[in-house]
Symmetry: C3
Subunit: 131 residues, 3 copies
């Protein structure tokens, strides 16, 4: 099990971790198998999406804020209930394939830590299994 460390810089941000995940795959020495990612936080998750045009990330941020606005009847005193909800919407675990010692991703796909309550230091756990 390896660990990726991320320092997010905005309150909400899709932070591209594709290079770090690729480095973890290479460090494992496994050529064919599966790469599991796990985010141990409750106000940040993991998602795959386009990493070519940065405006896609901008637009996803608008969507998330529109989906989960603040509400006066939220009870959680920390005030970050929208971040908790967005995390359950994108999810906390991903399973990727490894072939030829590299991640198998679509042409436009990148792996993102989805920060919903930053800026913070975040961790992503990575495990690569042969098969």
């Amino acid at each position: 099990m390896r660990q990726i460390e991320v320092k997010t810089e905005a309150h909400q941000e899709l932070h591209d971790i594709t290079p770090q995940v690729q480095a973890a795959v290479e460090a494992s020495g496994i050529a064919e198998g599966v790469c599991y990612l796990f985010c141990p936080h409750t106000t940040a998750g993991l998602t795959l999406n386009e990493n070519w045009d940065p405006s896609v990330r901008h637009d996803l941020g608008l969507v998330f804020d529109n989906l989960v606005p603040h509400r006066p009847d939220f009870r959680h005193r920390e005030g970050n209930s929208p971040a908790h909800a967005k995390t359950s919407l994108v999810g906390s675990s991903l399973t990727l394939f490894v072939s030829g010692g590299r991640l198998v991703l679509g042409s436009w796909q990148g792996v993102f830590l989805a920060e919903f309550d930053g800026p913070r230091r975040r961790r992503v756990l990575v495990k690569v299994m042969a098969g």
Copy 2:
């Protein structure tokens, strides 16, 4: 493959199954590996979120109801289309890590069955693989 049985008590509820998943991991005798969870229902899913302050669960319930209200143009005659939609939003499968014979979870993370059409008896399938 093991099975966790859950009896939910409300129409919508985040039911903490962390202790049962931990028990399934221990029963497997596997120290290092991966724990897969699968929910075989179409109106209940699985999610990770904070299990310390119960008000987080309350607020997530408000969010889910706000995201998927009932609509007069729904065609599914059983009347539970919002529960089907919420299930696709949170998802039906999770992958967790196992280390030292225990689930690897963040400090505030718990594993929840997300009931969207209860109260009902629900099942969660668990498989632990070494690696």
Copy 3:
């Protein structure tokens, strides 16, 4: 690693791929294990839901469109930002169980490619591992 090819026929569609996934499981010759699915696109994802009453799929389409309407402040010039956002909401990977050489699914569950920017030719990658 096997590949399922899908030709979607509508702009938005839940396309049932359960038979193709089952065929891939059978072709693997693995009786007990795990079946991973991965969608390498950024405007289509994967989800599990009811495959018996087609009106569930109709209603989910209404929900997705209601959740992510077009917005004048979207910046992505291709105009398909809602499709990107819906993909992150349902997710791009699924993990299913295999037992007795067959997928383990609930009575009403089917596996769907969730097309959000069709019609297009899409691919789903499948890997089956014993365990």
